[in-house]
Symmetry: C3
Subunit: 334 residues, 3 copies
C-alpha cells in the first residue's frame, strides 16, 4: 500500500528533500528540476553508503555520496563516479539510484516501496470527494508533536475509529462530543471512519469548545457541526475540524512500538495574523492523545497474554469489525 510520509510543504521546491524511515529503509524524498516528486533508497550504488544523513535539507542539483564522491542527478541517474572505467561490467549511464514511487493527494505526500504500485487514487477512492471541502492542500502545519507509543500501530488505528471509550478515557472530549459512533460512511477496503457530532453550543474541539478563528470557508453547515475522523490505511489518521485539520502519521518501530507524529494544520492566512495562537487546538489534543496512548499501551500489554482471545464486538463497534476483517484478509493474502 501507499504510505503517507510527508506534506507538500516539506518539499516546496526542486532540490528540497526529507529523509523518512519506512519499513526499516531510509528513503530520500525530493523534487527534481521539473518539480516532479521523486523518491530514492538512501543507498549509494558504489559501496552502499548512506547518501544523505541530515533529516531534511536542500540538494544542489545533485546527490553526492560523502564516502567516495559518486554523484547522481535529481532524477537518480549516476553522473559522476571517480576512478571508474567504463567497460562491460560498468556503464555509468546504466546506473541509477533505486527508486521509490511517490505521489500526492490533497497536500499529503505518499510513497510506495513496491516495484509496480497501483495508482494512489485507487487507495484514496471516494474519500477524496468527501474531504475536498477542507482544501487540505492549502493548509500549513503549525506544530508537530512526536510520541513514542508502546503499542502496535493497528491498536492506534482501532482506537481512532472507536468512540465508545470516550466516556471512560477522555474527560475533556466527552464534554464536547456526542456519545455516538462515527457515522455516515459505508466501509471501504483502504480507508474508514465517519463523523462525530459536537454537543449543542460546541463549535470545535478545543478545551473551550469555542471557535477562536474563522471556520474554513467552503465547509457545509454539517461539516461545521462535526469532527470528521478517518483512517487512511495503513498509517494516516485524519481529524478534520471546522477550523483546523489534525493528522497522525504512524511509524511502526516494532511489533509493539509505534512512533506517532501528530500535526496541526491551519489556513495559511491564520499565520499572518498577529494574534494567531494554535495552542487551544494543540493543548486539547495533546492531552487527549496521551490519554489514548495510555489505553493503547495497556491493550498492547494485555493482548500479548496467553489468556487473550478476541471475539466480542458491540453493535456499535462496526468499524472495528471492518478494520479487523481488512487486516485478516491481508494476512491471508500474505
Amino acid at each position: 500500500m501507499w504510505i503517507a510520509a510527508a506534506r507538500v510543504e516539506d518539499l516546496p521546491a526542486p532540490g528540497a528533500y526529507v529523509l523518512r524511515e519506512i519499513a526499516g529503509e531510509s528513503v530520500i524524498l525530493t523534487r527534481d528540476d521539473t518539480g516532479a516528486f521523486r523518491g530514492y533508497f538512501n543507498v549509494c550504488r558504489h559501496q552502499g553508503s548512506r547518501l544523505c544523513t541530515e533529516k531534511a535539507g536542500r540538494l544542489d542539483g545533485r546527490i553526492q555520496c560523502p564516502y567516495h564522491g559518486w554523484a547522481y542527478d535529481l532524477t537518480g541517474r549516476l553522473v559522476d563516479a571517480p576512478h571508474m572505467d567504463d567497460g562491460p561490467a560498468f556503464r555509468m549511464e546504466r546506473v541509477s539510484l533505486a527508486a521509490v514511487a511517490v505521489d500526492v493527494w490533497d497536500g499529503h505526500v505518499f510513497v510506495c516501496l513496491q516495484p509496480s504500485p497501483p495508482p494512489l487514487r485507487d487507495q484514496i477512492g471516494g474519500l477524496a470527494r468527501r474531504l475536498e471541502a477542507w482544501r487540505m492542500f492549502e493548509l500549513r502545519r503549525a506544530y508537530r508533536a512526536i510520541y513514542d507509543v508502546r503499542a502496535n500501530w493497528k491498536l492506534i488505528v482501532r482506537n481512532h475509529l472507536d468512540t465508545l471509550h470516550i466516556p471512560f478515557v477522555h474527560p475533556a472530549l466527552r464534554r464536547l462530543a456526542a456519545d455516538r459512533d462515527l457515522e455516515g460512511d459505508p466501509p471501504a477496503q483502504t480507508w474508514l471512519g465517519g463523523r462525530l457530532a459536537f454537543r449543542p453550543d460546541v463549535e470545535t474541539l478545543t478545551h473551550s469548545g469555542r471557535l477562536r478563528r474563522p471556520a474554513l470557508s467552503g465547509l457545509a453547515d454539517d461539516q461545521r457541526r462535526h469532527v470528521s475522523m478517518y483512517a487512511v490505511l495503513p498509517n494516516l489518521l485524519l481529524s478534520l475540524h471546522p477550523d483546523y485539520v489534525m493528522t497522525h502519521l504512524l511509524w511502526p518501530k516494532g511489533p509493539d512500538r509505534t512512533e506517532v507524529w501528530c500535526e496541526w494544520h491551519f489556513h495559511p492566512r491564520e499565520f499572518d495574523r498577529p494574534a494567531f495562537d494554535p495552542a487551544d487546538a494543540i493543548d486539547f489534543w495533546d492531552d487527549t492523545n496521551r490519554e489514548d496512548w495510555q489505553v493503547c499501551e495497556q491493550t498492547q500489554a494485555g493482548v500479548a497474554s496467553r489468556a487473550w482471545a478476541p471475539g466480542f464486538y458491540s453493535p456499535r463497534e462496526e468499524l472495528l469489525v471492518t478494520f479487523d476483517r481488512i487486516v485478516l484478509e491481508r494476512l491471508d493474502d500474505a
Copy 2:
C-alpha cells in the same frame, strides 16, 4: 508447579489486590467478598486491555476496565458490558475473567497457571510439618530488598543449597556457621534443603551473632542451634532462624536474569516494641546476598562458554546432584 507469589499479609481483606508478573503474564491476586483467594489474568475479555495498572491497591467490589468500562465482580464474572447486546455470540453471564489457581501454605500465597493444578499440599509435602514450629503464617514482613541478578534462577537455587562456598565467599557468615553441609532431610522432588549448625556461642545469623530479640516460641532446642535452609521449588527460598525468617522469591526475567525479592519476617509483637530494629538481620544478609549474587553472576557467565562441561560433584554436593536430577527429569518430560 505452584509459584510462590505473595504473603497473606499482602491481601489482608476482601478487595485488596496485588499484581504479579509471572512467566510474562500480569496476574491479579485478590480476595473475593467471602475472603477466598482469587487470581485472574490481568486482561479484559472485551479488547484485551490491562484491568489494573497499579502494583497494589483496593478493588471496590468490582474490577472495571479503564478502556470501555467492562466490569467484573471479585469472583471474575462479567457484571457490566456497556453497549453489548445479548445474543448467540455474547451472553454476559457466560463471560468471566481467565482465572489462575491460588492457594496458601503457612502464610505464603502460591499461584498456578496450569488449568487443573495438583494440590499445593502435594508440592509442600513433608516440609509443612518440619517447619510448622516457626508459625510462618503469624509473622510479618519488616523489609523487602529487591536485587536484579544477572544469573539464571537455577544457579540461585543451587547457591542456596550449597555450603561449600561459604569459606571462600562469605567472610561474615563463615565466622558464624559450621563448615558443614545442609543435613537432616532425604531429598524430595519438590523441595530440598536442611539445617546448618551455628558455631558455639552463636545464637542467630547477624553480624554480632547474638539474639537481640526473643527466639520464636515453640522452637525446639535443635531449631534454635541451626539455620534451616530450604528451597521450595521452583522459586521460594527459606532461611529460618531462631528469631526471624528470611525468604527469597525468585522472578525469572530471562534465561540469564532473575529479580530476587528478599524479605525479612518477624513476630508481630516485635513491631510493637519501641526498640524494635531489624537492621542486624537485614544488614547481615544484605551483605551476604550481594556476595552470593556476584558468584552466581560469574557462574552464569562461565557456563555460557563453549568450554563448559558439567560433571564433577563432591560427595558433599549431594543436594546439587539431587536438584540437577530434578531439573533434568522435568526437561525430559517437557
Copy 3:
C-alpha cells in the same frame, strides 16, 4: 585464524595476565613460570564460574576460583579441589583448564580458539620480512583509544585498505598523502596492504607533517617516505610511520558493531626524554579515525537495505576485490 589480542608488554613476566573477550568467550592470557605464553578459557572446571574478573593483574603462581576454591597452576593443571574424592569419576591429575593456543609475532600476542591451529607464521607469511625494519617487538605503547563503531568489522578492514575516500573524508590526511593506491605488494590470503607515499616535504603523518622525534633507526629511505598500511586478517590493522607504529585491534561485538582499540607505539627511548609528547600523532589519527568511523557507520546502514546490491569496483580498488574474495571463499568453506 589467529586473532591478535595483546602486546607482549601487556604480559611482561610469569603470572602477569590480561582478560580478552573473543567470539563471546572470556580468555585468560598469561605466562607460566617458564615464561611461556598460555591461554585458558576463563571457566572453572567445577561449577563453571569465571576464574578471573579483573581485566588485568598478576596471578601468584596459581589461578584460584573465587567460588569454591579450586586452583590451577599456570600450566592449567588442577592442583587443589577442596572436598573432592578421587575416584573413577574424578582424578585431579586428569583435570585441566580448557586451553587456548597462544603465539607471538614481532611483539603482537595472538590467540587461536581452534583445537589444532596451524602455525601463526603461516598466517603472517611474507609480511614478517617486509615489516621487520620497524622492530615492532621493541616498541612501547603510549596510548590506547577505544572506539565503539556501529559497523561490521569487515567494513573497517575495507576502509583501512581504501585510499580513494581520502579526498572526500579526510581533510587533514589529504594534505599529507599522495592521491594514490596502496602499492607494492601482491595480494596474500591472510594479510594485504601496501605503502602510501607522502606528499613532498611531508615527513610523517601528524597535523604538522613534520618529524618531532627521530625516525626509527634501520628504516630504508623508502620506508621513511611512506606510511605502510596493512591488514593482518582478521583483526589487526597496522599503520607504520617513520617514527611510530599505529595499530587497530578490531573486536566484533555484533554483526553491526565493532569495538576498536587504536594504539600508538613508540621507541622506548622516547619515553625517557623529558620533552616526549605523542600528542601530534595521537590527535591527528584520532581525528582521522572518527572521520573513518562515520563513513563506516553510514555504509553499515546502507548495506543493510533491501536496495543494496554490490558489484561495482574501480580499477583502483584491487585490494577491496581481493579482500571480498577472501571473505567469500571462507564463507563458502563454512
